[in-house]
Symmetry: C2
Subunit: 79 residues, 2 copies
């Protein structure tokens, strides 16, 4: 089974990388860009078909490894 | 309008960051993990309602700024 995990900074946390890209885009002439936020995108292949078990595992992986809960939030999809 | 852009390494390109995470996950006991690939996830807010114009713009932004076409590929969704 394939899983896609999206890790983003919390809305309340400043995203300097996003702000820099936003400025670049405006300098390039894309004046209609209003906000840019950068995150991580993790694609996992997991053996097995037990959707619930895999969901629990991915939730654990996010909490133990992928996500800094102080500044980041996450969501994931199974495909 | 909100856009989500996913930038990933091409399948033919080695992903050392992904391999490291895969090893870590296995050491943590997640033996059913088969492959891990890391990418970038960019969330854009763009003023305007002209879906086609925005699609063209985002495609340009990817080619000019976000994506290294030698080793990366991208896809995006408008929400």
């Amino acid at each position: 089974m394939k899983a896609q995990i999206f890790v983003t900074l919390k809305k309340s946390v400043l995203d300097p990388q996003g702000s820099t890209i936003e400025r670049s885009l405006k300098q390039m002439g894309y004046d209609d860009v209003d906000s840019v936020r950068i995150g991580k995108f993790i694609e996992l292949e997991i053996n097995g078909d037990d959707k619930e078990k895999i969901q629990t595992e991915i939730d654990e992986m996010c909490k133990k490894l992928f996500v800094n809960p102080n500044i980041e939030e996450y969501r994931f999809e199974l495909l």
